[in-house]
């Protein structure tokens, strides 16, 4: 008997209000005055997928340069202005978005809004920070050249999605970064920073009027429309193949994956439940954790999860094991994946998985910054605020038959494309 059957609560993890600002921007707001802090998270569609392959990394450079001088403030003046009020503003570029976050003490909200406005509307892209940021990016790339985890991730991505933007390194290469000029950064900013594919969440000691003023000040004067290239659907390559990258280290870093379902697929949620039970991140009771780590002591980390991007979904997992036992570690993982593909899940593990996914959802909302980040993500996925309740209802409704069907579709025959970095024996 299960002590805690999956019983999704109809209560939302947080109390979200959505509204439209006087200048027409949609905001998701959570008002909370327990701590005098305000967090804002935004994201614009675009991201590294928009990079010209010959200039891969231009989006990363753009995100890195937005807080390096804007308006009348050069890089040092801008950074000092942040420091004076302990305001945190940062930008980042992932595969499909450029995102940013602000954290400030509520008393410094006006200054934070002004600095965010400057960064987004009047970035300078001065020569000095441009060269400095590029050198720093080059140093990171040189550091990663022989870092097993970086090599494995890069190699796997390139092999799984050859010729597609998803296969390109978002951080660029030494060659592509060298090809980027300041004008490219400005051009990328002009095409990508706009109002039409923007999502915003505000959380903390701030009311609707305050949030509207903050958002309108920072975002309302941006161009109405971004000018983005269409991205083709990502087709998955290399199923059944294993690429070995030789590196002189005592341990093999293994990364494997295969195509997954897209976010709008009716079986998507059931496939997430299957992957959680199989090898969810942080799941110390998952099958992979039990078989690879606990029973056999093959690895410290082992995981597998579905990732849904806008133009394709995929399963991605991995483990790291000493070279002598790398093949065993891979074989045990692959056997578990095949088992889920063919047999689905057992009743008890399905119920446990569902209860965990439902019950742990509120833990994603335990700080202002995490709430803002979650709310931005939910908007990027095209969901309404009722997703905060609906997500758990859908997970609660996943049946054994659902999960078997979804696993069969998502894991197919269990074939994988695999990259192994190290000196693995048996591959």
């Amino acid at each position: 008997m299960l002590k805690h059957p999956a019983a999704p609560s109809s209560q939302s993890a947080v109390n979200v209000r959505t509204f439209v600002t006087p200048r027409g921007l949609t905001v998701w707001l959570v008002e909370s005055y327990a701590v005098p802090v305000v967090s804002l998270e935004f994201a614009m569609r675009g991201g590294a997928a928009q990079d010209d392959p010959a200039k891969a990394g231009v989006g990363m450079m753009l995100a890195s340069l937005l807080d390096e001088g804007a308006g009348d403030l050069d890089s040092q003046a801008f950074q000092r202005a942040l420091d004076e009020k302990a305001i945190e503003i940062s930008f980042r570029n992932d595969r499909e978005h450029m995102a940013g976050r602000v954290r400030t003490l509520a008393k410094n909200l006006d200054r934070a809004a002004e600095l965010l406005r400057l960064a987004l509307n009047a970035p300078r892209f001065d020569e000095e920070p441009f060269l400095r940021v590029r050198e720093h990016a080059n140093a990171r790339l040189r550091h990663d050249v022989n870092d097993p985890g970086s090599v494995a991730a890069r190699s796997w991505r390139a092999g799984a999605f050859p010729g597609h933007p998803y296969g390109q390194p978002a951080e660029g290469t030494l060659e592509t970064l060298a090809a980027i000029e300041r004008a490219d950064i400005a051009a990328a900013a002009a095409r990508r920073i706009a109002r039409d594919r923007l999502v915003i969440a505000v959380v903390g000691a701030i009311d609707e009027d305050g949030a509207a003023a903050l958002v309108d000040k920072a975002f309302a004067d941006l161009p109405a429309r971004a000018d983005l290239a269409p991205i083709p659907a990502a087709t998955f390559s290399g199923l059944g193949r294993t690429d070995v990258v030789t590196l002189d280290v005592p341990q093999s870093t293994i990364r494997f994956g295969r195509p997954g379902l897209t976010r709008d697929d009716p079986d998507f949620i059931a496939s997430l439940v299957a992957a959680h039970v199989l090898g969810g991140h942080g799941n110390m009771t998952s099958r992979l954790f039990r078989e690879v780590r606990e029973k056999r002591g093959l690895a410290y980390t082992v995981f597998g999860a579905f990732y849904a991007l806008d133009h394709g979904g995929f399963f991605y997992g991995g483990t790291t094991t000493k070279n002598e036992r790398a093949k065993e570690s891979f074989d045990v993982s692959a056997a578990e994946i095949r088992d889920v593909a063919v047999n689905g899940l057992g009743e008890e593990e399905l119920e446990k998985g569902k209860t965990y996914l439902i019950g742990s959802y509120p833990l994603r909302f335990d700080t202002s910054a995490k709430i803002a980040s979650q709310l931005a993500q939910i908007q990027l996925e095209g969901r309404a605020p009722d997703w905060l309740v609906e997500r758990n209802r859908l997970i609660g409704a996943v049946s054994l038959a659902d999960v078997k069907r979804a696993a069969a579709r998502a894991f197919g025959d269990g074939a994988l494309f695999t990259t192994v970095v190290g000196k693995p024996e048996g591959f």
Binding site: E84, R142, N146, P250, Q251, R293, P362
Partner: protein, 430 residues
């Protein structure tokens, strides 16, 4: 500038069996963070048994006489909770984050494994392999981490802070069930533990739950005494170099022995915190401006004071050289920047910015129940008091330019240090 007052009343009790209890109420969400901290860490590993504190932390998930292996983790997962544990040089901690109605059950499980651990060779052996894989992943495959271990081992010539938390590989291989149990029986006692509950929990009610669970753990008498050899005075500058064919990006670092929050004179840890921020905290810091922006010798540069330690601790500077710049050039450049900083004196506006930033961190921490639980837990595990924690912003606020310069002169300026160089295999010899 006035420092912010504490967020709420943090409650502090000591139970009959010696267990300290700290409750940090935060009622924004119906969630609690439940942690138990033990006042022992890797620096308390017996000679020749390096890594036993960390190995035992892994083995604590292997079940007790009352609850078989996996039962606690299964329970936490079944209620949608998160759990984990970590080992530091001076403490070991276990935590779960769960909906508040599950707090009592977590307490019962955690109290049970304070004394009830059962270990058999068939769970110990695979877990030792897991730890060896952890070591391979985080250290043996990463020349930067290998340099870090070598620098640390050089800086601490005698004190166990020189030994890696995870242990040396050859000693991990020899750790067994008896070693783990001996260490467990010595340190896992109520007198040596601190219970921290942060989140949607009322102090009196939480204490009652603690009495019903942890209260049943028998007292063992006095808390165990940590006996560690003291680090002798340092007179030698040392250079530690790791050359590896995998390295394509060199790195430079320097470490000094400095007092910790427990060994320093009053006011000194805060002066060192501010000094670290002024010299190497972010893009407006002295090191970044001089080495990265002005002289273009480095592509990144930072410094940091690590004050949270029981015994003598470290001040660290780190720089990544620009292409074509040798690490010997950075050796000299750092000395020049520090000398200039001391000669020019502290810019008052920069001092204010550094203090503003550090004090704001205390406010930002209040937004996270798990950050607060870790802050209070680690501080108490080092022997500090609730008051020490809550008055930290005021003490930072009181730091003046003279205190910063005094700290720099006393602990960094021409003081013996360990410099670390990370280089490609074929780099020219220094």
């Amino acid at each position: 500038m006035t420092a912010n007052p504490p967020a709420s009343k943090v409650a502090h009790f000591t139970m009959k069996n010696g267990l300290e209890v700290v409750v940090i109420p935060d009622h924004r969400a119906p969630v609690v963070t439940h942690m138990v901290w033990y006042r022992n860490g890797a620096a308390d590993d017996p000679q020749g048994k390096s890594g036993i504190a960390h190995f035992l932390e892994h083995l604590m998930f292997k079940g007790t006489a009352l609850h078989p292996k996996g039962a606690f983790s299964e329970y936490v997962a079944s209620v949608g909770g998160h759990e984990n544990a970590f080992t530091g040089p001076d403490f070991t901690a276990y935590f779960q984050q769960v909906a508040k109605e599950h707090l009592r059950t977590c307490m019962a499980f955690e109290a049970d494994r304070m004394t009830g651990l059962v270990l058999t060779d068939d769970v110990v052996a695979p877990e030792r392999d897991v730890v060896l894989e952890e070591r391979r992943m985080h250290c043996d495959t990463d020349p930067g981490a290998q340099l870090g271990e070598a620098v640390q081992a050089t800086l601490f010539t005698h004190h166990p802070y020189g030994v890696p938390i995870i242990g040396w590989g050859h000693e991990i291989e020899g750790l067994g069930r008896e070693d783990a149990l001996a260490y467990y029986h010595r340190f896992y006692t109520p007198e040596n533990a601190i219970l921290v509950v942060a989140g949607d929990a009322a102090p009196e009610e939480t204490l009652k739950l603690a009495e019903e669970t942890y209260g049943k753990v028998p007292a063992r008498g006095a808390a165990p005494v940590r006996v560690r050899p003291a680090e002798p005075p340092t007179v030698a500058d040392r250079l530690v170099t790791v050359r590896d064919q995998k390295v394509q990006q060199p790195n430079w670092q320097r470490h000094w022995l400095v007092p910790s929050c427990r060994t320093a004179a009053p006011g000194e840890p805060e002066a060192l915190d501010v000094l670290g921020h002024l010299i190497g905290g972010g893009q407006t810091s002295v090191l970044y401006r001089e080495l990265v922006i002005e002289e273009k010798l480095a592509v990144s540069a930072w410094a940091y004071y690590h004050g949270t330690a029981l015994d003598q601790s470290r001040f660290i500077a780190n720089a990544t050289p620009a292409p074509g710049v040798t690490l010997e050039t950075l050796d000299k450049a750092f000395d020049r920047v520090l000398a200039k900083f001391l000669a020019d004196g502290v810019d008052e506006a920069a001092l204010e910015r550094a203090k503003t930033r550090l004090v704001a961190d205390a406010v930002y921490a209040r937004d996270s129940q798990s950050d607060l639980a870790r802050w209070y837990g680690s501080s108490l595990a080092l022997g500090q008091t609730i008051r020490d924690v809550e008055e930290w912003p005021a003490r930072i606020d009181a730091v003046d330019a003279k205190a910063v310069l005094d700290a720099a002169r006393k602990w960094l300026d021409r003081r013996p240090a360990v410099t670390g160089h990370l280089l490609p295999l074929d780099a020219e010899a220094a």
